[in-house]
Symmetry: D2
Subunit: 365 residues, 4 copies
């Protein structure tokens, strides 16, 4: 698409809304009829992304109450376009007012200023805000439901914060959603508490790594040659504000393996039969030749530290002169854990889109 507010081919999410306007929302087009869908279900997932929760959170309060505007009748999707809206509530515009004349390092300010011909418009302030991700989460609920009908489940968890990683053997993805930091292991939480306390005292912010697993994914998703599943998943994940890297399966580590180490041997299935097999390992992260293999899809996203630090920084003003900036307002100390449901949502949107496409392709003529 030319205008960048739409994601997907068979299942399309178009979003709108700024952080300081009436609200934000979106339209899901292409959702099959007959799915159970309630505002409460979307609300539950939005609440996972809501500010003001956990050790890394801002104190900003937003109730983020979602309203369904179309496409659902008596609790079931009708097959028509599903629109939803989340009104803005807690807007303190003056918190940001003093930043109109300078560029905040690490923020979208500079790029938007250059893109829109020097117009320091609200498009930047509005659309580059992390708040737009609420619409992704709402859309992701529908994608997760489409996937759930096929038994696919998406799990997200934080596996590294501020450079302190969970060892691979200690992963517990199932429990992540309920832990502080959405941590993918219980052991690391107290270490991370210490890190966060130190960072907060220093006015610093932290980055981390999020792991997403998609379980029970049917084999055959992805389209040769440009829409390999790695390509569409990478697009989905890398379109989220703070993400600067993605790897599938062993990813960058695979670059250091020998072929015999990296290949995943096939073994007969427990109940062998034509077209049935299991894999002895999953270095590929569930995708072979761009097509899902039937193994779990595993990806990791690198999340940079929040750009809004409480430390005076060098920058320039709109006239190009040297300036300093100390950012006030209320900001998260890390995108983690709030980014986790967003990355789950984007994974779900990419996979549900591929699933609907494959179901259709599978039919032939």
């Amino acid at each position: 698409m030319m205008a960048g507010n739409t994601f997907g081919r068979a299942l399309r999410l178009t979003t709108f809304g700024e952080s300081h306007g009436p609200g934000l929302g979106g339209i899901i087009d292409g959702c099959p009829a007959g799915l159970e869908l309630t505002e409460a279900q979307i609300q539950a997932e939005l609440d996972r992304r809501k500010p003001g929760q956990g050790p890394t959170a801002t104190k900003r309060k937003e109730s983020d109450t979602v309203r369904l505007l179309s496409g659902v009748h008596e609790g079931l999707t009708t097959g028509t376009a599903i629109a939803f809206f989340i009104a803005n509530e807690d807007q303190r515009s003056h918190d940001y007012g003093n930043l109109a004349e300078i560029f905040r390092p690490g923020h979208a300010d500079w790029g938007y200023f250059q893109k829109y011909n020097g117009l320091r418009d609200h498009r930047g302030g509005g659309r580059s805000s992390g708040r737009e991700t609420a619409a992704r989460v709402a859309g992701g609920v529908i994608a997760k439901k489409i996937l759930a009908r096929r038994g696919v489940k998406i799990l997200g968890g934080c596996v590294e914060l501020g450079g302190v990683a969970i060892p691979h053997w200690g992963l517990d993805m199932e429990g992540a959603a309920l832990r502080p930091y959405c941590a993918a292991a219980p052991s690391v939480v107290s270490q991370w508490d210490t890190l966060v306390a130190e960072a907060r005292k220093a006015g610093e912010t932290l980055g981390g790594i999020v792991r997403i697993e998609a379980r029970n994914v049917p084999a055959g998703l992805g389209e040769p040659v440009f829409d390999k599943l790695e390509g569409t998943l990478a697009h989905a994940i890398m379109s989220v504000g703070a993400v600067k890297g993605i790897e599938i399966g062993d990813g960058f580590a695979a670059a250091a393996l020998r072929g015999s180490q990296n290949n995943d041997p096939l073994l007969p299935a427990d109940e062998p039969g034509p077209g049935k097999a299991r894999f002895a390992s999953n270095h590929a992260g569930g995708i072979l030749g761009g097509i899902s293999s039937g193994q779990d899809i595993i990806l990791r996203a690198a999340v940079k530290p929040i750009a809004s630090i409480a430390i005076t920084q060098n920058t320039v003003d709109k006239e190009g002169n040297a300036a300093t900036v100390l950012i006030g307002g209320r900001h998260d100390l890390a995108a983690i854990p709030r980014v986790v449901p967003v990355l789950e949502a984007m994974t779900a949107l990419a996979l549900a889109d591929a699933l609907l496409l494959q179901q259709r392709m599978g039919l032939g003529a």
Copy 2:
């Protein structure tokens, strides 16, 4: 798009062709009129990707001679669709014939088999072949020319092979194209020679990491919110067969930095003025908030080892029974360096597409 053979929005590349049919090619739609374009220019870039060159190469010979079929008149593009064709020449189908009954570990065989309803069709063999990337390279030549008119230059080099990396301070991207392995530093070549010799003897294959730099990119490219430049670049790069990870700027390393370390401070430009600045560092890899900042765009792609090893592997046959496979034929020992021009091409296609889109958006109504 539903069918996955097209990449791009304003500049669209649609490719076709199998490794064992008449040939392969593509159509570029959306190229402006008036660009100089000759078959020789495309040929030069194709020759960089051609098999049979360098220490990691297969001995397979393909002349890969390109022919322009439309869209160019008297050496200039006319603004119409540009079609090109590369005939296949060296086809030894019998080399692959004995693999029809089993699934090669690490290959697309399994995914395609599952995708196309158990049909072991030639779609897999043909379209999952690395040979399709020749059409990407041809398309990339046109993208590079569009970029060059704006002074943008794309450089690619190998920075890690078989786990042996070039230290960041030793990079020499300008010289990479002429070195063995497309190595981004001279010092590492002899080490890599040793690695490759050992691997060849062991029947093994190697992976590595490719670095791409785009220099002199104008600020303002990328579209909020789903088509951030990170998203479209990631889609482009991760759609190439052996790539399992991508990072922009510091990428995964950024996840371990503090905010004050990762932010790139702005400083007055050498000749200060409104909307002018320079950056003190480039942790962001040239993209802020999804929009190009005017700094060099820097990305790294993780390339897995070639799946075709010369070692007997466990697998299953089509009936689901245990089997072993020893892959013959002529295969590269590493996707590096042949993948380098392909990744340059994909970077160029993504950036030229964003550039044309921004030029158009920039006009307003």
Copy 3:
């Protein structure tokens, strides 16, 4: 697009909403920044489409109050996605309740029933309702504003009702918007009054022909070869519910002309100069070879009679048995004049889309 709720390439309108849910609305993506836009402006155009007005209207009342949800700040568009919402108010679902078991002749009932696998879902009732066109009109306001910045003006008027046509020499398009029936000439109004009175007494409905003129359209709009301006305009106009035909310029009459009669000779402009000319006639309706010529674009749309007649009709029920149906409820006697602003809106959306695309294409690289 796979899902059909989006229209446009550079300027994209995605709509949602059913006649008996919370409401309807849409998102415009791709609108340039800096356009003046208020709810009042949209409201004025919606009021032209509102039911309950004029001799052919239903007595149903809908206030159709529009609310802007995003993309506008201090009265100016910001370049971000513009969302709008129109709440439903006057819903008498029971009026339609007794029709659940049979298929109304001439309605979408049958096609939707077949399309959605025998599911008599609300998708049909909802999305096939003429009420969805309110979102088109709202989107069209934005398109008209984009066009107005280039001086383009869209005029619509009814030129035939119930078989009684206005002669071509009597056209007065400027006054149409203010006349009963949106009539393109004053002389015909009393004749049409008589026709409508007779039809109403007989329980009948009427069709007609709408003429749209786009004045001051710049030359050069339209894209070879599939997106000729005739093609995209035809798609736009024929996507409106009751329209069964479209012709550009002389259209079907041109099929009976000789070449020398149909060609529009070029003459020197009043102030001659390179690339300047005027045309001696406009048989082509302002489009030559799929590209706008700079003359007025003229099209005519055939509008069928409303399917809901107040006469007992033969049909079948869901079991396939013979049945009769007498449709109650409140229905218009003709789609005219309410369809006129809808057709103006679709013309404006198609032309504004082509204009933005051409501005972008015109830049080259």
Copy 4:
């Protein structure tokens, strides 16, 4: 799509090529695997469009020999992109050379000149040539095959030439393909012979009306709300060069009917059952509410007279000064009958696209 060389959503045809370059061709993406397809089958359809046949034809000779470049193996489609190429042979560029300085009335010259910034480029000459329709016909062969698997058959015939129409009761669509002019009735041929002889003597050209019928179309094709089947068919048909109007079913005549006359009553099927019915008439032309009803789809296209007349015409030159032009070269006297297979092809492409989309949509999740 931004660039206009692609048609379709699920089944996508992208074409390229100019009348005076190496040749023309295209890529079909989205074709299911397993269809029988040979070069001979495409050739047979191309031969119907070939110049030099029948009373209205130019004497220009082009063998139009098609070559399949990909996507077909052992006579069966493989599911990959199908590319085809038709080399140009009989190019007499000098026939057109003397027209470089003036604008031919009724031709694309003027629009292309305005579109491409005064550049009288070969894009115009090349892409606006009727020769590009050969690629449509080749693509249409594949679409027809997809439809034929579902029993759908496309018939085209000429029903009016130079103002002399075949009465509706005299139609014989089955025999049209074998008659001169592709005439939809035998009786009219001698009249048309006389017309053509007179026109040729006068240096004139003729227009006409083509009727297309699609038989045995499954109910349920078309997507609410913008991609109603009327909309996508109209886009397809009106994208063909000489077409200035389209109507579905009764079309413009329906505008003069009463509702009770225009509605098509439903009757019990011969073997009644749930969801089964037949229609007493087909005023709707097989499409209700934008969705195919299961009746034959019937459309009529208005074809303007060929612009190249053998009579001196007034025009202007590139400097804007008055000039006259007498067009030489070899030109058809009417687009009929050669446009008939083109319109069949576009109908087939639109319907096959809708069919593949519906099959996919029909699955749900």
